[in-house]
């Protein structure tokens, strides 16, 4: 039995390349092309959702402002939140990075079900269009969480929101299924679980969450839709329904969802650190197993979003304890990453800068999360700007900085060119400073009583809100640096070789940009990744491409 046939039957043979424009760039079955489609679409929605945020901040420049009406402001934050969660962060991390990197890192030619992968992507633009088109029919106004009874009473735009999120939910479920089968069944020969790159571990747990948790969202949305359109009384108190039922089912999805939004970013951090510090990652197994632990625990903490919804005391206590518990595996990762810096040769280029941005802001957000996990604190801070600050520190500071770290890191692999390093540093520092200037003061006004989701506020909060709004505009502008960098790189960026950063995972052992078949011959894995200073851990790779440059 020849070694190269194990686990890689059909995909060992290289199929002929796609020939027409439609097959190459529109309805492509190639995971790398699909990834780029996700990046472009997700990037577009990031701009739209970001503009909504800037409009919100313009309204909040002063109390009783007239930039947006109250109803429009409500619609703005509802669509901003929904779009950022479902049309930006989740698609970019799963459909974007998961698709691009995971099959390369496991030595596969593609995912398990390429046709389903394509379907997953093509559900995405219609979902986004449906969500933004809801503005024409009265966009949802009850936040991205759309609690009944408010969400039941709103105009048709809320039903469009239900349909849009349902579509993107189906897309995410299919992607999760696809990725999990790929990771379980299609790793290269010799790639045991403990030789699998940490980004793949992260993507695997995320895929499991996507697959199992998202179904709950579909159920909740279906219930809301049929109540709105057909009068079916799930959440209608006057006919025996219960608004809290929505909260339970919605949060049973939405808490795992926040882990879907952060685990791939954790994976990106685990990849960038060894490469830019030129030493093995510290605590590989700790990071891998803690990802799985986080995945499991994420299903047990949902009601910490419901501490003020009338839960029994014992329920509040149980969820408080479990929520604090989930900080333990997360903390293990943070410590492992920091320990990975010890004794390394640190190369402070853009990817690592964004990782440091991630580590500082995400840790800070995690700490405020522990504060909010405590019921006595949350009862006061629920639905205040303290929560807004917390969520942006973990989602923007965490996920977004992670996304940019990954962009700078893997840009050369997909395009064959490097992003400009000076522009990258400008981007990082302006974004990091503006981010903290925008969201740090929110802790203060939150603790001092400013509620969230309000179009106006008590004048005592004015000066802080002004400062936050101006910082938010600068934050938005800092993104332009990245956009310019990207365009410039496409036109005249420095040509990257196969391995510009000196990485040791499989994606760096093939040319940049990657050929459609990924690997001429499926590699054989001989030891774990990240083993700097040791012999190359793969056989069957092109020796010319596999030379890891020494700095």
């Amino acid at each position: 039995m020849s070694v190269t046939n194990i686990g890689q039957p059909e995909s060992s043979h290289i199929h002929p390349p796609p020939d027409t424009f439609i097959k190459k760039y529109v309805f492509s079955l190639d995971h790398k092309v699909i990834a780029v489609q996700y990046f472009i679409t997700g990037g577009l929605f990031f701009v739209l959702a970001g503009l909504l945020a800037e409009l919100m901040r313009a309204q909040l420049m002063g109390p009783n402002n007239h930039v947006l009406s109250i109803a429009t402001y409500n619609q703005a934050y509802s669509v901003h939140g929904s779009a950022m969660v479902w049309l930006v962060v989740i698609p970019l991390l799963t459909g974007g990075f998961g698709n691009l990197v995971m099959p390369l890192q496991i030595g596969a030619r593609d995912v398990a079900f390429p046709w389903l992968n394509m379907i997953s992507f093509w559900l995405f633009p219609p979902a986004g269009i449906l969500l933004f088109a809801s503005f024409l029919y009265g966009a949802p106004q009850a936040g991205w969480t759309e609690y009944p009874p408010f969400s039941v009473q709103m105009p048709f735009g809320t039903s469009m929101w239900c349909m849009a999120i349902f579509l993107i939910g189906v897309s995410a479920t299919i992607t999760g299924l696809n990725f999990l089968v790929t990771i379980v069944k299609m790793r290269a020969p010799g790639m045991t679980w403990t030789r699998t790159p940490l980004f793949v571990w992260a993507t695997g747990v995320t895929a499991f969450l996507s697959m199992i948790a998202t179904a709950n969202l579909s159920a909740a949305l279906a219930g809301l839709f049929i109540q709105r359109e057909f009068g079916v009384p799930f959440y209608d108190v006057s006919r025996g329904g219960a608004p809290v039922l929505w909260q339970h089912v919605f949060w049973f999805y939405s808490h795992p969802a926040v882990y879907i939004m952060i685990l791939p970013a954790f994976g990106i951090v685990s990849e960038v650190i060894p490469t830019f510090v030129r030493r093995p990652i510290f605590g590989y197994k700790a990071i891998a197993y803690s990802s799985a632990t986080i995945g499991l625990l994420s299903f047990m903490v949902w009601a910490h979003h419901m501490f003020t919804s009338g839960l029994q005391h014992w329920e509040q206590f149980a969820f408080m304890v479990l929520t604090m518990l989930i900080a333990v595996p997360t903390g293990i990762k943070i410590f492992s990453w920091v320990a990975s810096l010890w004794g390394g040769k640190i190369r402070l280029d853009s990817p690592l800068l964004f990782v440091f941005g991630f580590l500082s802001t995400f840790t800070f957000g995690g700490v405020t999360g522990i504060l909010l996990a405590s019921v006595p604190v949350d009862v006061h801070e629920h639905a205040s700007y303290f929560v807004v600050a917390h969520l942006h520190y973990v989602l923007f500071g965490g996920s977004m900085f992670g996304i940019f770290a990954g962009m700078y890191y893997w840009w050369p692999k997909i395009t064959g060119r490097l992003l400009d390093e000076r522009l990258g540093k400008w981007h990082f520092w302006s974004m990091f400073v503006a981010f903290n200037a925008t969201f740090l003061p929110m802790h203060w006004i939150g603790l001092h009583g400013m509620p969230r989701r309000v179009a106006t506020y008590d004048p005592i909060y004015t000066s802080t809100n002004e400062f936050v709004s101006i910082s938010a505009f600068v934050l938005g502008l800092s993104m332009l640096i990245f956009a310019y960098n990207a365009l410039r790189s496409a036109k005249s960026g420095e040509v990257a070789g196969p391995n510009p950063w000196g990485g040791r995972t499989l994606e760096w052992m093939i040319p940049s940009p990657a050929p459609y078949y990924n690997f001429k011959e499926i590699p054989i894995v001989l030891s774990g990744p990240y083993d700097y200073g040791k012999p190359l851990p793969y056989a069957n790779v092109d020796q010319e491409l596999a030379t890891v440059p020494v700095h």
Partner: protein, 187 residues
Amino acid sequence: MSDFEYEEVRRQRLLGFLFFLISDCVIFGDFIFSYLYLRNAAPVWPPLGIERPYLYLAAVNSVVLFGSGATMHFAMEAFRHSNRRLFVGLLLATIVLGSMFLGGQAYEYTHLHDTWAGSTFGASFFTLTGMHGFHVFIGVIFLITVLIQTLRGTYTPHRYFGLTAATLYWHFVDVIWVALFFLFYIY
């Protein structure tokens, strides 16, 4: 692709299909949770003026559905023993019994006084049994497709994943019905 190489593909497809069935179970689980939650929160159950559907009709219908599960099981056995005529016959029987189940459900729906939007009982009952009925309908379509593929000779003794998937799906639909029958007619 040789039969040896196909084995790996078959395993990937099987795992993918099982994952799909699990995620489908989660959706049913959510609505079952909703039913139990609303039932527990209600001061009186069934809600005032609502009568529970009759056990007798549903029991007969259940026997029909479980019978179709049995015929499907034996159809697979016949296929594995290369008994093509028995396989086709049992597959047809499964399709007929499945359709009879749907007919029975339609009869029950039209003879119930409660409506979908009428009460929390109606909300739970019609949503769950409706979802289940929809799944049975898709299942019948799936089985008809398998029948057509069989008559066209698509399946070989070593390559018949479509048939495996249809069988798993049909048994899944059966298992969900066990839960729903218990929840709405017994409990």
